[in-house]
């Protein structure tokens, strides 16, 4: 049976197709956007804001550390309780919601795709098992390939082709989407309770984080990869780290990307835009970072914007989480992963009464407002690190309302007027810009626009968010409310949310990339890799790759070797 849907008279923001607030109809047949429909079910979106389904470029929603966060924070679980319904499973959690709540809440905000931002390869099965239990959302996951011994050894020997062969194998073995970098070298050092700055030698491996980043970028661009390397750089969260950040950006400047996208996506940039030398003279350097991004085309960023309140921080950056735990004295979990990566988790409270937190809060928004071209940035909170994803509508309302920012600043620590720029910035986002930073940019940067995500052109997936919002609305509270619960969310042509309630919860698709590597190169790489399994891994080579059973709804993207 042909399923047709007509969304009539909405005010459409579809920036990838240059549609900026035009009153037009959207036709969907069999889950895809089409030119016209004959006998459709009709949704009247008269005068309401219509956007493509949201695309989140970076969030921690599934896998070992997310679940370790849930497990050790029953107090967080109690915050989000909702009983099961005919459609929905039982829900729990706020900063670390259970898998079901994760799907429902994103869908209610109009999101239909989320990238799980850090998948430890050895535990990739775990990430996929949880992803299967996240309803509605299409998804993908980025395997960590930067602190891996194989990576560091190839970077040291300068064998970029072999490194590319290793990347290809890893991305395939984990059913991953690209190359994630988290505190390169530093997480390996953390296995000895140490850390690395950008140009420090990694203990025993005799390479620097800078060399790792450059090597990975060069190797990644050997393929027609939809996404560039996705980088959480060194010294995250340290006062004065902004120069490390721009130095990291510089590393990939000369590398030619496979197509018109950056060669590095620098994630949760708020945490990397710090001035000062200690927490006492801590200040915003968002201006310096924005200046760099404005002047260069090889870097895209996402915000990692702070939501005030309690959250659960988690990252493969083990030493950073240890530092955070030492500051707060709260509980701390760590899980180092052999030959590959690590992770740390600790709860954290962002308070508007604390100078540092206030400045952090300002930095995320400053980045969005000081970077001129919204196509260079995506809205994230690095969920749940700077705050849970459920806070996105707050950020949206802040970016759209100078008045709201000013009112908020009045209640916060006065440091915001001395060591941050935010109060002096007048810019306000319009809905088109919001659509760019919440769907268009992320889809393009991930290369997903070519696979039907993030836009409403003919052939795109029938993923649509209809917000109960007039384009003329300027009141921040109303904007926030509208972006928290859609009037309708449509996923693949099916209404999944209506009037803020989940009415259907179909399974999402998992996007993964298959880099295609010369078999000879692969064979040579394999001799080195098998030696690692023979002697150092605690699982066998044959039991390592993620089996097809873990990805029941696959969507494969092939990435040929660049000629």
């Amino acid at each position: 049976m042909v399923e047709e849907l007509l969304i009539r008279n909405g005010v459409v923001y579809d920036p990838i197709n240059g549609v900026n607030g035009e009153k037009k109809d959207i036709c969907i047949r069999d889950g895809k956007v089409v030119e016209e429909v004959r006998n459709p079910k009709v949704i009247d979106a008269e005068g309401r804001v219509v956007m493509p389904g949201g695309v989140d470029i970076h969030a921690h929603i599934a896998g070992g550390k997310v679940n370790a966060g849930r497990l050790f924070r029953p107090e967080d679980g109690r915050k989000g309780r909702e009983a099961k319904t005919k459609v929905c499973r039982a829900q729990s959690g706020y900063s670390v919601p259970n898998t079901f709540a994760t799907g429902y809440r994103y869908a209610k905000m109009g999101y239909t795709f989320v990238m799980e931002a850090a998948m430890p390869p050895l535990a990739a099965r775990h990430t996929h098992e949880e992803i299967v239990d996240i309803p509605i959302l299409d998804n993908a996951a980025l395997p960590l390939i930067d602190n891996n011994w194989m990576t560091m050894e190839y970077v040291k020997s300068g064998d970029t082709d072999l490194l590319a062969a290793y990347i290809a194998w890893m991305v395939k073995a984990t059913k991953g989407y690209g190359v994630k970098v988290v505190n390169p070298g530093g997480t390996e050092a953390w296995a000895w309770a140490k850390n690395c700055d950008l140009n420090d030698a990694v203990p025993y491996f005799d390479v620097t984080p800078a060399e790792i980043v450059k090597g990975l970028a060069e190797a990644t661009e050997k393929f027609e990869m939809p996404h560039s390397i996705h980088v959480h750089g060194n010294m995250l969260g340290h006062p004065g780290n902004y120069e490390v950040t721009t130095s990291t950006y510089d590393l990939v400047k000369g590398i030619k990307p496979y197509r018109d996208r950056p060669t590095m996506h620098a994630t949760h940039t708020q945490f990397h835009s710090y001035g000062g030398t200690t927490w006492a003279d801590f200040e915003s350097k968002a201006g310096a970072i924005a200046d760099y991004v404005n002047k260069n085309e090889h870097v895209s960023i996402d915000l990692g914007s702070v939501i005030l309140g309690d959250t659960t921080t988690m990252t493969a950056d083990g030493p950073m989480e240890y530092s955070l735990y030492q500051i707060t004295g709260r509980k701390w979990t760590n899980h180092d992963v052999e030959l590959e990566t690590g992770s740390g988790i600790t709860p954290f409270l962002y308070s508007g009464k604390v100078s540092v937190h206030t400045i952090q809060w300002a930095i995320g928004q400053e980045l969005a407002l000081l970077i001129k071209d919204p196509w260079k940035l995506a809205l994230t909170t690095d969920h749940p690190n700077a705050g849970p994803f459920i806070g996105y509508p707050i950020i949206i309302s802040m970016l759209m309302s100078k008045r709201r920012r000013d009112e908020s600043a009045e209640d916060m620590h006065s440091a915001i007027y001395k060591r941050a720029e935010l109060p002096s910035i007048d810019r306000e986002y319009d809905l088109n810009e919001i659509a760019i930073i919440t769907r268009g940019m992320a889809a393009k940067t991930l290369g997903l626009h070519e696979h039907g995500k993030g836009h409403l052109g003919v052939g795109a997936d029938g993923d649509v968010a209809i917000y109960d919002l007039s384009p003329e609305e300027r009141e921040a509270g109303k904007i926030q409310k509208a972006f928290l619960n859609t009037k309708y969310t449509i996923k693949g042509g099916e209404v999944v949310v209506k009037d803020g309630e989940v009415v259907a919860a179909p399974a999402g698709k998992t996007y993964f990339v298959t880099p295609e590597c010369d078999p000879k190169l692969t064979d040579e790489m394999m001799t080195h890799l098998k030696d690692k399994f023979e002697h150092y891994y605690s699982v066998t080579f044959n039991n390592y790759p993620v089996q097809d059973a873990y990805v029941p709804n696959p969507y494969e993207i092939k990435a040929p070797w660049r000629s």
Binding site: A90, L122, A123, E129, D133, A193, H535, Y536, S538, V539
Partner: protein
């Protein structure tokens, strides 16, 4: 004859995955490599529950799968306070259906961690857990501490594959450049291998952790001459070894979780690890027993928010171990139906809870007969995961590994049994007009 390599053992939390077996005529005929004696015994097979059965007039009568599943569903659909317990010796795919069934009927779902490393979970919820994968230990650890754990008997491959005896990148000479400390109340087989054996008095773990912790933070002066039966000299030597290690790990077992201060022991053990971490790299890991007890904790957590003792009677998950953990529910005679899967409360629960179980309908799903079978009213035999059925499990360090299917079977896998029960329950409820 077919040789199968990379076989994954479904016995203990070690989840050894490099086993080689021979299969002939749909039977495992030989275990050639990799398994310990207990694992080998399981792989080779032994007595099992032959047929589904329903108890009539005091004795179990064989029946069809259909009848047993229907009966189980009727019991569960009519239950007012059902308990679904076990889940540790089956695969995550089955555990997921278990959580769904619990939601459907508003049950309490609990797993064997409740009477095992439950105290460890409570401690982790208090202070967190600095830990690592077992391969980290293999490659880096030069100081290994087993505390209240006897792997030589209970996790027979643990030292050989992951810790003291194995060789890794920075431990290429094996145990030659490693130190082994064992803390226990008696000289176990593991203790006999140790460089240092601290024989502590029963129930004094908390005190000994406190003494070590004080010393690690530089407060030697507050530690008396003897703590829990251990001399200050030996404690100081232990602390010296901890500080001088490049990478240390504490593996702890039931000897710590179930004596004296229980979860407070583990809090103190973790705090001691943190104290050691101020000097060098130090980790701590619970010695999980069943091969997938870590897995049911994982599944239960991502699906409900909590790892064990989850009450779904309100429609959402409510977590309060000690109130609705399995033994507490039973001792209060609160639950009116119990389903046990892949576990044996008949052998492991306190007598008072067993007395209540004798009075209520009990459903058992298991490949093997055990004391629980003796009072179960519906018995449903299952395929043996890891031999006759595949699926995901989590090793004691939370690394997911897929069990392989080695031979075909007529028996239904746990997942299928549960899905069919769930289907029947839903059909009954629909009929009743819910």
């Amino acid at each position: 004859m077919v040789e199968i390599t990379d076989v994954v053992c479904s016995l203990c939390g070690c989840v050894c995955d490099d086993i080689v077996v021979e299969v002939e005529d749909n039977n495992v005929t030989k275990v050639k490599k990799g398994a310990c004696s207990v694992g080998k015994s399981k792989l080779m097979g032994h007595g099992r529950i032959e047929s589904p059965a329903i108890r009539e007039n005091g004795s179990l009568k064989d029946c069809s799968y259909d009848d047993a599943i229907k009966k189980a569903a009727e019991i569960l659909a009519a239950a007012r306070r059902p308990l679904l317990y076990g889940w540790s010796s089956t695969v995550c795919e089955a555990d997921k259906v278990g959580v769904e069934l619990a939601e459907e009927i508003g049950a309490v779902i609990d797993n064997t961690a409740s009477v095992c490393h439950g105290p460890s979970v409570l401690a982790i919820q208090d202070v967190g857990l600095p830990s690592c994968t077992l391969g980290e230990v293999k490659n880096r650890a030069d100081l290994i501490i087993y505390w209240g754990a006897n792997p030589a008997a209970a996790h027979a491959n643990h030292m050989k594959r992951y810790s003291y005896i194995t060789k890794g990148y920075w431990t290429a000479e094996g145990k030659k450049n490693k130190k082994l400390i064992v803390v226990d109340v008696r000289r176990t087989a593991t203790a006999k291998m140790a460089d240092v054996f601290l024989q502590i008095e029963q129930g004094k773990d908390y005190l000994v952790f406190s003494a070590l912790r004080a010393m690690l933070y530089g407060y030697e002066d507050v530690v008396p001459e003897v703590v829990g039966g251990v001399s200050k000299k030996d404690l100081l030597e232990t602390v010296r070894m901890m500080k001088e290690a490049k990478f240390g790990i504490i593996f702890f077992g039931m000897g710590v979780t179930h004596t004296g201060a229980r979860h407070n022991n583990i809090v103190n053990a973790i705090q001691t690890t943190r104290a050691a971490h101020t000097h060098t790299k130090f980790n701590i890991m619970p010695m999980r027993g069943h091969y997938n007890v870590a897995g049911i904790n994982q599944v239960c957590t991502w699906e409900t928010g909590y790892p064990f003792a989850v009450d779904l009677s309100r429609g959402y998950a409510w977590y309060n171990p000690g109130e609705h953990s399995a033994t507490d529910l039973l001792i209060r005679r609160e639950c009116d139906v119990a389903l046990f899967i892949a576990s044996d409360p008949g052998a492991h629960f306190p007598g008072e809870s067993i007395r209540h179980l004798a009075k209520i309908p009990v459903i058992q799903i298991d490949p093997f007969p055990n004391p629980t079978t003796e009072f179960a009213d519906v018995v449903i035999p299952a395929a043996i995961s890891g031999i006759e059925a595949e699926g995901n499990v989590y090793r004691m360090d939370n690394i997911p590994i897929r069990l392989r299917k080695l031979v075909d079977t007529e028996y239904m896998a746990d997942e299928e049994i549960l899905e069919r029960i769930l289907g029947e329950v839903r059909a009954i409820k629909e009929k009743e007009g819910e």
